[in-house]
């Protein structure tokens, strides 16, 4: 009978992290507090108090204050002890964030290189923590997010350190993994306090591990942070909860191209083309130009384009881009209205082709649009 090989300490740590990334753990506040105090003792070298944010609004307020305080400390060299702490913590944070941003961790410090060498990133992408991170990344309160430490990511430091046989760094950062295992999602530091936000209570993903829920919020966090997603695209609540309210008029009034695409998908693409009365005028390698005649008004033209890069299931995302009824090249959207109008008046109409239509969305004529690369 062959013996099963016992997992190595590194494999054990990786498995613990993987399990924690499923976000199924029960929140144990006492344990989280103990872990973070232990981490603070090793990294910050000062005793810290732990507070749990009651809701997202409170956490956001704390994180913003933490960011402001950090900047203030940077400017006040007289507070030597605090400056030393801040430099140390900020340095570590920067390394962590940089590694996360690089994803391949090629430019990050050695522990992160070791993690990258494991090439476990694809596996991590399959975990729910990754989906939760998507919601976190879509969070537009960047100033608050920048001051936060996300536990699923930072806890990788201990794994990378163990892979390098760097026992000290591993022990320094292991408490973060333990805090994550106990249900900490992220935290920020201000003065003598570590403000902790516990795990999201709802993270629902679709087949491609993107946030997705067809009949409710896909992401709920701290009670008051609720978001709706359709295959990774954040959409208004009504798109999910009241799909029967989606009409041709509602679709055409939506400015956001991704949200409009989801609305068309929920409404039904064939139905949209049929009910909007948008008939095909021309098609080429660049897309399909459709025209909708309106009584007593200029026709509505839209060009239907597909992403060149296919989705994992082989399909391609399709978008409907509204264009000028004479395919005049369009000026930048953020110019003042009068300047836009004057610029548009100077442009000559173009033949109604899909290529000319796509070119017009970049302020160009068709003959000037031939991308070296287009995906």
């Amino acid at each position: 009978m062959s013996k099963t090989k016992a997992p190595t300490p590194l494999e054990q740590l990786l498995e613990r992290h993987k399990i924690a990334c499923d976000l199924k753990q029960t929140v144990d506040r006492e344990k989280i507090a103990e872990c973070l105090q232990r981490w603070a003792g090793r990294i910050i070298k000062e005793p810290m108090k732990i507070a749990f944010s009651a809701n997202f609004a409170a956490y956001q307020k704390d994180a913003r204050a933490a960011r402001a305080a950090r900047a203030a400390w940077d400017a006040r060299a007289a507070r030597a002890a605090r400056a030393a702490w801040d430099a140390r913590a900020a340095r570590a944070a920067r390394a962590a964030w940089a590694a996360r941003a690089a994803r391949a961790a090629r430019d990050a410090r050695a522990a992160w290189d070791a993690w990258a060498a494991w090439d476990a990133r694809d596996a991590r992408d399959a975990w729910d923590a990754r989906a939760a991170w998507d919601a976190w990344a879509a969070w537009d309160a960047r100033d608050a997010r920048d001051a936060s430490w996300e536990c699923s990511w930072i806890s990788i430091t201990s794994i990378g350190a163990l892979a390098r046989s760097d026992e000290k760094t591993m022990q320094d950062w292991l408490p973060i993994l333990e805090a994550f295992e106990a249900g900490a999602f992220c935290f920020c530091i201000k003065d003598d306090w570590i403000h902790v936000a516990t795990l999201p209570t709802r993270v629902l993903v679709g087949g491609e591990r993107r946030l997705h829920c067809e009949d409710g919020p896909a992401f709920e966090w701290l009670g008051d942070f609720v978001e709706y997603y359709w295959h990774g695209v954040r959409v208004p609540e009504a798109v999910i909860l009241r799909p029967t309210d989606i009409t041709v008029e509602v679709i055409e009034a939506e400015d956001n191209a991704e949200v409009r695409r989801v609305m068309v998908e929920r409404f039904g693409q064939e139905r949209y083309v049929r009910e909007s009365g948008a008939e095909e005028v021309h098609r080429d390698d660049f897309g399909i130009l459709r025209c909708k005649i309106q009584k007593g008004d200029d026709p509505i033209l839209m060009v239907q384009v597909a992403n060149s890069t296919a989705e994992k299931d082989g399909s391609s995302k399709e978008y409907f881009l509204p264009v000028h009824h004479e395919l005049r090249p369009l000026p930048p959207g953020d110019w003042p209205t009068e300047k836009k109008r004057a610029w548009l008046d100077k442009q000559k109409p173009q033949e109604l082709t899909a290529r000319n239509a796509v070119a017009s969305t970049w302020g160009r004529r068709g003959e000037d649009y031939d991308p070296a690369i287009e995906t």
Binding site: A101, A138, W139, N256, A257, G333, W362, A372, E374, T375
Partner: protein, 157 residues
Amino acid sequence: MKTDNLPHYRQGDVLLQRVASLPKGLTKVPRVDGKIIVALGSSNGNPHYFEGKGSEMLRDADGAQSLVLVGKRISGRFQIEERRRNWLVLDCVALGLIAFHKSDVSESKGQPELADVSGRFELLKHAEHTAHAYPDGTYSHVPQRGFNRGEIRRVQD
């Protein structure tokens, strides 16, 4: 900005036009988490971004963005995964799939499935698009626009 005969590249709603030089009076745009964010997807959180240490993004007073791209050396013979009108998608092994303009690679004689790359390239990345390889140089960012109900607006995604 002169753009005569200089290539342009499109990734989703981002179009980058190579330019001979940049206007004066531009301000450097800070990186976010180490990334140069050219455009941030507001609905899915997926940005179009560069990561090269030597690259930088600049902005004029009206918010128009320009880029100075300084990439890393990429060299080797790689498998051609896809042939398109003006570009090839190559499997650059550790770097993953990358789209190169045909003029930036040389296809191997006698081995139609392989192409040689030798040069410095900065990579434009996005979670839902193949990475693009841009030769070192200066570029301007052209935001996409739409014409909706008589209004001209920047296309958001």
